[in-house]
């Protein structure tokens, strides 16, 4: 069990973690899961790119003659199991890891995957790329939380709007989308394979998780979704073309992102109108402002409920600019 929650009953720990940050709740939920029972599935996406799906965030895997590149590394306890799946695709060394954001369901496996990914061909540990805010947050532990080991830190952070490199015969472009899910979100575009890995900026199975405590915002999230739509190009009649790997959930393309963007934009418009009229959060909630989307994206249990989403939207849009 994760030491951060040891000594607490699950219910109390869950409540505390949720109060501190909804996203930390995922740690607890996962800590109650036996990694041995977790099923991981590797699915081909397009070109050189695959996705490893299971508990925790999706892991994007790109392979070729130069070795292996990962986008995110999942939960730490799953790293050996994830690595076994990756080894079915390639014996090459892991040379690049990109973290789409700071949360541990996407960065938890950094250190272990870097270690397991070393082979005789390795020229050192992999480069771990992330937007500089990810490094800042990983090197500064949250109050009461243990320090994250240095081996897990990004060692190739960037602070400009984008970073690019060439690997396995294709250009890889990493775009920073500010103040969206967090303040350190990256989109990773595999230009030849025509695949975009989005991290938790896009989670089609739930309302977007706006981590206000870590610099997220509703407008930044909408801007990021519009950026995804800018980057992606559909094939005939708005289908296929650039494939999109979300932070969690099934494979998608631009049309799926459009539906998601539309949802959040409509909800923003409603909240803005009601906030402008001076309505309180409770008054807004009483109108059931997301009733039309709740059956698709909402949840009454789990670590990101509809109620938490509404709180985040209200707080984000109420903040003085």
């Amino acid at each position: 069990m994760d030491k951060r929650i040891a000594g607490l009953s699950a219910a109390v720990a869950h409540a505390l973690l949720r109060a501190a940050s909804p996203l930390l709740g995922t740690l607890l939920l996962f800590a109650q899961t036996n990694p041995d029972t977790v099923k991981l599935t590797m699915a081909p996406v397009q070109g050189n790119v695959y996705v490893l799906m299971g508990d925790g965030g999706n892991i994007t895997v790109q392979t070729g003659k130069d070795g292996v590149m990962l986008v995110d590394t999942g939960f730490a306890p799953l790293a050996p199991k994830a690595m076994a799946e990756i080894r079915k695709l390639s014996d090459g060394p892991i040379r690049w890891i990109v973290n789409t954001h700071v949360h541990t369901d996407h960065t938890g496996g950094n250190a272990e995957m870097a270690k397991l990914g070393m082979t005789g061909e390795s020229i050192g540990p992999p480069r771990i790329v992330a937007q500089s805010n990810v490094l800042n947050r990983m090197t500064t532990a949250d109050p009461g939380q243990p320090k994250i080991p240095e081996a897990a830190w990004p060692n190739d952070e960037y602070f400009l709007p984008s970073k690019d490199f060439f690997f396995n015969g294709e250009a890889v472009v990493v775009y920073h989308v500010p103040a969206a899910h967090t303040d350190g979100d990256s989109l990773v575009f595999f230009r030849r394979s025509d695949v975009l890995s989005t991290g938790d900026v896009f989670t089609p199975g739930s309302y977007p998780i706006i981590d206000l405590a870590r610099g997220g915002s509703v407008q930044g999230e909408i801007d990021a979704l519009n950026r995804i739509i800018d980057i992606t190009v559909p094939a005939k009649y708005q289908e296929g073309g650039t494939m999109v790997i979300p932070g969690h959930g099934r494979l998608c393309d631009e049309a799926d992102v459009v539906e998601y963007r539309n949802m959040l934009t409509v909800i923003r418009d409603r909240f803005r109108d009601m906030i402008h009229k001076g309505m309180t959060l409770e008054q807004i909630k009483a109108t059931k402002p997301t009733l039309d989307y709740d059956t698709q994206y909402g949840a009454t249990t789990g670590f990101w409920t509809t109620d938490m989403f509404l709180d985040a939207v209200y707080k984000s849009l109420s903040e003085k600019k």
Partner: protein, 289 residues
């Protein structure tokens, strides 16, 4: 005893032209805003329809060439071509294929017993279809549909929906009973039927579509009516003399008992100015008010 492979009991291949009946107004000029009749929708779908702004199909570029879903194709401009794949070695039917006029939509109906894809597989406009024979009736199950419309006035159909069809051929006529089950937006299955007739001379042309900005607008604009501020919702009820509640959809409104319930509130206009007698593409005359 000699075992024989299961052959297709009925051949659906060929060119089929759609027949329009009471569904003409919805399929040809398109549904009226606020017309949710015949739909067993829940409150979520109703709110989606109420806040939908039809400008969206123009202002959102990605909607300009968005095709019908595999389910709605059967209700659209439904000129239909059907062909099939036969495995030459075994003479077994492998698949039917359909081509629809609207957006050149094509789908494959697998008849070889293959399973549907896993949950994580991408969803498509036409979905993933498999078929089985039930006597002379072909029953098709489609999953993995993308989110789309159940009616083109903002009533959505989710990507969790399962679409079932029952194809029956009567000589030169084809009847397809369709069933949409959608846990997100329906409280009961939506059951409808459509008819086609054989049209050997039919020549389906290229549909073609290229999206382009049509009006200046800030990037990311998504037209929508704020809750309670859509001025068009009562038009349909007023034009046809229906009580407003009867236009709001819901399972109750589908059953004959509901006609009795609203009998005293239904006041059809003396002179119909909308699609009261619309049965084909050419007689859907509208007199502007």
């Amino acid at each position: 005893m000699v075992s024989l492979p299961v052959f297709a009991q009925v051949d659906f291949t060929g060119e089929w032209a759609p027949l329009y009946h009471e569904d003409g107004p919805e399929r040809l000029p398109g549904p009226e805003l606020g017309d949710y009749t015949e739909l067993p929708i829940n409150a979520a779908a109703r709110m989606a329809g109420d806040t939908y702004d039809a400008d969206r199909i123009s202002v959102v570029p990605e909607y300009q060439c968005r095709p019908h879903g595999g389910d709605y194709s059967m209700r659209g401009l439904g000129n239909l071509r059907v062909w099939r794949d036969i495995d030459q070695a075994s003479e077994k039917l492998i698949a039917f294929h359909t081509h629809m006029l609207a957006w050149d939509s094509e789908r494959t109906i697998w008849m070889d017993g293959r399973p549907h894809p896993p949950d994580y597989a991408p969803h498509t406009w036409q979905g993933f279809s498999t078929g089985v024979w039930d006597g002379n009736m072909l029953t098709i199950t489609t999953t993995h549909l993308k989110t789309n419309y159940m009616r083109r006035n903002g009533i959505p159909r989710s990507d969790k929906a399962v679409f079932t069809e029952h194809w029956t051929r009567h000589g030169d006529y084809l009847t397809v009973v369709t069933v949409i089950e959608d846990p997100v937006y329906l409280t009961e299955p939506l059951v409808r039927s459509d008819n086609w007739y054989v049209d050997p001379g039919q020549n389906i042309g290229i549909f073609g579509c290229e999206y382009a900005p049509e009006v200046p607008r800030p990037e990311g604009t998504v037209p929508n009516h704020l809750v309670g501020q859509n001025p068009f919702l009562h038009e349909f009820a007023n034009w046809y003399g229906l009580p407003y509640e009867a236009t709001r959809g819901g399972a109750e409104t589908l059953y004959p008992e509901y006609q009795k319930k609203i009998a005293n509130e239904y006041h059809p206009p003396d002179h119909c100015e909308r699609y009261c007698k619309c049965t084909s593409l050419f007689d859907c005359n509208v007199t502007s008010k």
